[in-house]
Amino acid sequence: MTVDSIQNGIVIDHIAAGRGMKLYDLLKLNKTETPVAMMMNVTSGKLGRKDMIKIDGEITLNLDVIGYVDPGATVNVIQDGKLKEKRRIEMPERLENVIRCKNPRCISTTEQELSQIFLLTDREQKEYRCLWCETRAAKI
């Protein structure tokens, strides 16, 4: 399977196989009018299998979302058909309005316009907790 190279845009590469759709959803790529190619289970020398997202056009991405879903992913900025920049991704210390707290007793379920904020509480375990009720976010 081949997908055309892009001239100007972003390639999110080395996404762990199976996490591409989650990233697509959390980046809200379904809301953009820019052409997006989602590739899953692509053969990878490094990972065996990987997912990949190609975005054909200029777009602002929330890198925290990528760091949350897969800090091992890479973000390549393409300009005039060439690699302009390779961005390193890290797990963000704080996630704001990316995921929702699943605890039905959490104040964020009722308080008006309260941001959904999660803090990284254990880097090794990739554990995030709700700022308000401290409930752990489900593992991806």
Binding site: R105, I107, T110, E111, Q112, L114, W132, C133, E134
Partner: protein
């Protein structure tokens, strides 16, 4: 603006300073009788509570301050759909400090972020109840003279009890503590509490199912209620329920200087016959809670 939402908001030095202050209040109540003159505490209790609200209110009166109060969400603007943020912004215009209880977890942190005055969490659902832990700490220190070298038994529902998790977290910051965790299999301390508080700090602990067999090892016995609805089946509940009820007969094997504690209210997990035993400390805990709330309010009011 400094608020106290959970015990980790307070450093070890601050915990010690609060206990020192509480001891000073106990020793010299007259010195504190007017210290909060013209200060107002607002107690916002959006769910029923008797002892905690009364404790805060009594504490402020003893410091010479005054209390304004909202009890029960039905009567308040919250019932009309007002947010916590707006409620505390409004109350900040009337009061110098707020004590708030709310059924939603995290409500106190939302209040603290929006209030113009200090907020004390007086319980936010099953999440946190720091002033109970402050009461527990002062009780242990007063009864035992310190924390070093204590064997602390926690008995009953160790899974859902917020007071137990908070106490484990607080005590594990002191040197030389050892825990004996006594509960049925279904109600053991959750693994995240053990890994965060005990394993990370190399605190020794054992997990037991039978109170009687370990009661003789304990310096502190902290009882909590085992509720029928927490069990998966009736058979297990009936088999185990008596193991977690403290009676004078079980106390025969305990040390003479054991300190029996309970966050109250109790239902039947401590026989009323134990109340006469000098080792029963749970009503002292109530009194100590008031003094720690006084010390905490003074700290937050910079007095």
């Amino acid at each position: 603006m400094r608020s106290v939402i959970d015990i980790p908001d307070l450093s070890l030095e601050e915990l010690d300073a609060l206990m020192d202050r509480a001891e000073d209040i106990i020793a010299h109540p007259d010195d504190y009788a007017d210290i909060c003159h013209r200060k107002k505490l607002a107690t916002l209790f959006f769910e029923p509570s008797t002892r905690t609200r009364l404790s805060f209110e009594a504490a402020m009166y003893e410091l010479g301050g005054q209390v304004i109060s909202v009890a029960g969400s039905d009567a308040s603007s919250v019932a009309k759909g007002e947010s916590i943020a707006d409620t505390v912004k409004t109350v900040s215009c009337y009061a110098d400090i707020i004590a708030m209880r709310h059924p939603k977890e995290g409500a106190a942190r939302v209040a603290a972020q929006n209030a113009a005055v200090p907020v004390i969490n007086a319980g936010d659902g099953g999440h946190s109840h720091p002033t109970q832990t402050l009461a527990d700490l002062l009780t242990i220190r007063r009864e035992k003279g310190g924390f070093n070298g204590l064997t602390v038994g926690l008995c009953g529902d160790l899974k859902f009890g917020r007071t137990v998790h908070s106490l484990i977290n607080a005590l594990s910051r002191y040197e030389g503590i050892r825990f004996v965790l006594i509960s049925p299999e279904e109600l053991k301390v959750p693994s995240y509490v053990k890994s965060e508080a005990l394993k990370k700090r190399n605190i020794p602990y054992t997990q037991e199912q039978d109170l009687e067999s370990v009661i003789g090892d304990l310096d502190i016995l902290y009882m909590t209620r085992v509720q029928r609805e927490r069990f998966f089946n009736e058979e297990d509940y009936l088999r185990l329920k008596d193991s977690y009820i403290l009676t004078p007969e079980k106390l025969v094997k305990a040390r003479k200087d054991l300190c029996v504690m309970h966050p109250l209210p109790r239902v039947n997990e401590i026989s009323v016959r134990v109340d006469q035993d000098p080792r029963a400390c749970y009503f002292k805990q109530v009194l100590n809670g008031k003094f720690m709330r006084e010390a905490l309010m003074l700290m937050l009011l910079n007095l």
